[in-house]
Amino acid sequence: MSASAVVTLLLDPELWRLMLTMAAPLVLAGLGELVMERSGVLNVGVEGMMAVAAAVAFLTMLKTGTLLGAAAAAMAATLGLAVVLGYFAITLRSAQLTVGLCLFVFGTGLASLLYRLVIGVTTATPTVQTLPRLAVPGLAEVPFLGTVVFTQNALVYLALALVPVLAFLLVETSLGLRLRAAGENPRALDTVGVNVRALRYGAVAVGGLLIGLAGAYLPLAVTGAYSDGIVGGRGWIALMVVIFGRWQPGWALVGAILFAYTEALQFKLALVTKAVPPQVLLMLPYVVAIVVLVRLYQGAEPPRALGLPYERESRL
């Protein structure tokens, strides 16, 4: 391939549009995780929660045919899982890493089970209609950007809109200030009369809803079908996106886009080149994840109370 062909390939508007489509679940799950972590609760079960959401969303869609119902059912399911996480992490003060890992294993298994229970083992995979693309009138005609940004599905717009909203909320509102404080020094927040426990439960619930939407996105907007392993590590990448973004929504978006770009590129490369085995290309996003994170993890400062349960009367 000539150099200009490579540039054309890398800057292909269709590739960039696919990138944003694939970035949306990472953004949604990443923001959900970010809200939780900012409050001091670590949730490493994102992958499992997304799997449950994907299964629930697909099955609801298949049975009822309503998109909103499917998304709502998925979000309700992950909200339930998030409350379980919250109960262990906040009320029982368990080790959050352990609870999160359990949630991952449990979620992955539960998703698979739900699908088997409803669909059974079939040769023909049932499918559902995926979310339609919505071209924004006027803006969709802008060269390059029009194709990339303004001919996406509704959830992509929602994910992109949430980034500045959350950034504003964290920095400019009282609630954001308290949320950040809960993750840094919950005792300081407690001594000024703010209910740390309620704040953390709230953050966990919001995080659970966003992660649920991210999981629902995969069958509803991308594949139109459910298969085990549909989440494919995106839950873990969402965790990395938070670290990449240094717990800032804007930078988390940049991280999500970077991972999504390599993912989209991998689809594209598989079509144009036969020289590289597709398995190697499939590996690409994960390789990028490792390389980027090894560099970035150094010096990244998580919220100081991240993963630490708060107990008022503990004498430490």
Partner: protein
């Protein structure tokens, strides 16, 4: 600060407050009474229950029994927000601040003024006016992490008075301050008290209590022993109330056998710190036989780095360290120990001990190389037997098999001292490096630790004493070095000891001059 400041009016009364933590009785029917407009000291040893009692008052701990009266009426304080509502504010010893947030955000959090948007500009004006009125000016836009301890304390006090307080509790407020800063704070508190504020001042420094407080309540072992007028009592009387018996003060080791043998020589040592700046730069000093050399400085000026460089835990980036004339700059810690270099780290449980292992095993640690009789294994029975003598000699409360973490801070420190002295006793160059060896200990254990260190020097060993307690340094050291931003800015003989002058040097007076 409302109401007419009549001094004799009772503002607060705590009555028979009891509190247990598991099997430990922290408070046993403790109580006292505070008047409007007075500075009331709460005096006692560590573990006497002063902080616990005030945590009950500020709603952080829930008392098992007892009553709280405010202005003659019973008050229910179950949550921190109840205390705030009753206009009670507390400045904790270990500040309850959120380091990455700005000073302003730390002050206003929880009382942001509106539920939705933070109106920083408007809030900043109000807070700045409040700060100016009481002389607590700080850079409100700076993140708290970037402020010095004295400024962080101002933020804490602002946080309390911003909410409106009639009763301000300060837990050991002067420990992080230089003598000058402490005096300024105490003067300000006096002004505020004259306007009607009641101040509860937790301290274990008797001279502060006598010099600046109106009355003092002494606590011992969870009980209030009594309340006295500061003007009608003496230091000796307060000490007796605090500890219940007389304690012989360690005499300053004024006389010392002149001996030019150098145990430790630190020659032009530089240690890299965070962000490229050196944590220690070009440090140069030596310690002779029988000498106690003190290192003064505000915490975080490179003490830890210098000490760890000497012990071998941190890489030296320039210069050399000599132990008994031998260059040990790159020598492993174990070899330094074998020469007689012993280390008592500041963070007892973190750096100094294995909390879940037994007293005997902790005593054995570090000595294990020296005591090995050959073979690959250590016999547990021998380790336990070896602990019998130190447990007895150092009056360690516990047995050889007690997990170390179960002991109190004072007893843990005794284990570390016993071990350090054993290490020093084994080598040719006995040198004990002690970092804040008495921090957080009660009067009796403090005196014991100090006596042990003096004994090392009497037996012609050397002591490098790094301490944030100036009184301790002036009492024990033959010379005091002052560390400021990683550089040794002064080397003072005992004839030149002066708390104010050292305080000036600690805050960089020499560097500015």
């Amino acid at each position: 600060m409302s109401g007419p400041p009549t001094r004799s009016t009772e503002r607060l009364r705590l009555e028979a407050i009891s509190k247990r933590f598991g099997a430990t009785i922290a408070l046993a029917e403790a109580g006292f009474e505070v008047r409007a407009g007075e500075i009331h000291a709460l005096l006692g040893e560590n573990g006497a229950g002063k902080t616990t009692l005030m945590n009950v008052l500020s709603g952080l701990y829930h008392a098992d029994a007892g009553r709280i009266w405010l202005d003659g009426r019973p008050a229910e304080i179950a949550e921190p927000r109840d205390a705030i509502r009753h206009r009670i504010g507390m400045v904790h010893q270990h500040f309850e601040l959120i380091p990455p947030l700005t000073a302003l955000e730390n002050v206003i959090i929880g009382q942001e003024g509106s539920t939705l948007l933070l109106r920083r500009e408007r809030q900043a004006r109000g807070v700045a006016a409040l700060a100016a009125r009481f002389g607590f000016e700080v850079d409100l836009r700076a993140p708290v992490a970037a402020l010095g301890l004295a400024d962080q304390q101002k933020v804490e006090i602002l946080k309390a008075i911003f909410r409106g307080v009639d009763i301000l509790i300060l837990d050991e407020p002067t420990t992080v301050l230089t003598p000058q800063e402490a005096d300024a704070l105490l003067r300000t508190l006096r002004t505020m008290a004259s306007e009607g504020l009641s101040v509860v001042f937790i301290s274990h420094k008797i001279h502060e209590v006598l010099g600046h407080c109106d009355r003092a309540t002494v606590m011992r072992a969870g009980r209030s022993v009594g309340t006295v007028d500061a003007s009608a009592t003496t230091e000796q009387a307060l000490v007796e109330m605090m500890i219940g018996e007389r304690v012989a003060r360690t005499a300053a080791p004024a006389e010392r056998e002149v001996d030019d043998t150098v145990l430790l020589r630190v020659d032009d040592v530089t240690v890299a710190g965070r962000g490229g700046l050196p944590a220690v730069s070009h440090a140069r000093f030596s310690i002779g036989r029988g000498e106690v050399v003190g290192l003064a400085g505000v915490d975080g000026n490179g003490q830890r780095e210098l000490v760890e460089a000497i012990v071998g835990l941190r890489r030296v980036t320039g210069g050399r360290v000599e132990l008994g004339g031998r260059n040990v700059t790159t020598t492993a810690v174990g070899d330094r120990l074998a020469q007689g270099l012993a280390y008592i780290p500041e963070d007892r449980l973190g750096d100094g001990a294995l909390p879940s292992m037994s007293v005997a095993e902790n005593l054995f640690l570090g000595v294990h190389r020296l005591a090995r009789g050959g073979g690959l294994t250590y016999r547990p029975a021998a380790i336990r037997a070896g602990a019998a003598a130190p447990v007895r000699d150092y009056a360690i409360r516990g047995t050889a098999t007690t997990p170390l973490g179960m002991l109190s801070g004072g007893n843990i420190q005794k284990v570390l001292i016993a071990r350090a002295l054993a290490v020093a006793g084994h080598g040719d160059t006995p040198l004990v490096v002690a970092h804040n060896p008495t921090r957080g200990l009660d009067v009796r254990t403090t005196e014991f630790v100090r006596r042990c260190l003096v004994d090392v020097s009497r037996r012609r060993g050397g002591v490098f004493l790094v301490s944030s307690d100036l009184d301790e340094l002036m009492q024990l050291a033959h010379r005091i070095l002052v560390l400021f931003r990683g550089a040794i800015v002064a080397d003072l003989p005992s004839t030149a000891f002066d708390a104010y002058e050292i305080g000036r040097l600690m805050t960089g007076a020499a560097a500015r001059a």
